[in-house]
Point group: C2
DNA sequence: ATATATGCAAACGGTTTGCATTCAA
DNA sequence: TTGAATGCAAACCGTTTGCATATAT
């Protein structure tokens, strides 16, 4: 999905709710869809401060992130390290995350069988599934390598 | 595992680290293994305040909870609602959680096939799995019922 | 014209921490 | 005796909010 379509979709979303397209919202939308990394509210705030364009306050960053999550433009991801991370949704399929406990790296994965088993668990218990959050914590390929290197050198972890 | 064994195990843990068995730690340990509910630091603090025994400050509650998690006596559970919940571990097998988005109820489940698929995902990606966190958010049996009732009565959700 | 957004700074809420005092070993 | 633990209150940190001002429609 390209920038222009996203923009249209955002405008429609705002109209539906009688909200206004401000230069701040415009700027945040653009910036957020420009990156494919996971980012925090603070990171986004700093990007906007450094790069040029209409100034955006911290409060507006938070308010707009909330709006974008509501509208299904962004998803938030709780890595359990205090701050929420965000990633854009449009053009991305659902996935879960691997988080490296050594370097913080995040990778995405999708495993249909896990998704299906989650539904089965819910059904079995009489619940109705709304969403889920699966995080695998481990060591990424390069941190595993580093650790093995250290072990060979006789350094205890 | 009965209270006395847990107590011994805790004393050994403290000795190993040259930490001391204080009346506060004793009281927290007992209280925590007395309940089978999930509880927050604040809930625990209030239990200790209402029931009688040696007084325990909020700071000590937090410090001791940390200690018990380190020692593998408790596990913490991030429901994503701001505060951490705790549950005791000894005598409990690993499980994941269902969280009701309407009433906050928590149920536990264990699904071996999901556990195994997580390992497979990691292996496939070259990661080494350390732990995981799976939360299913949905509506519990009784909230589903309530919601259906409302729908029949023509009340929109 | 007017309802909505913004920026600022203060508030929030769970948790952590510095420090003087108390206590287990 | 002395290193560790406690209680208190202040600090922390990401996030939210009240309010006066600015702005999109």
């Amino acid at each position: 999905m390209k920038q222009a379509e996203i923009r249209d979709s955002f405008e429609r979303f705002l109209q539906k709710r009688s909200l206004r397209l401000t230069s701040q919202r415009e700027r945040i939308l653009d910036r957020v869809f420009e990156t494919h990394e996971h980012f925090s509210a603070d990171t986004l705030y700093n990007w906007l401060k450094q790069e040029d364009g209409p100034s955006v306050s911290r409060a507006t960053v938070y308010r707009t992130l909330g709006l974008l999550v509501d509208g299904g433009f962004l998803e938030s991801l709780d890595t359990g390290q205090g701050e929420l991370l965000y990633e854009h949704v449009l053009g991305h399929q659902h996935h879960d995350h691997l988080v490296c406990v050594d370097c913080g790296k995040i990778e995405e994965f999708f495993e249909a069988k896990i998704e299906q088993l989650q539904e089965e668990v819910c059904t079995r218990k009489g619940w109705s599934l709304v969403s889920h959050n699966l995080r695998l914590f481990g060591r990424c390929r390069s941190c595993v390598r580093k650790k093995d290197g250290a072990r060979e050198a006789g350094i205890e972890s």
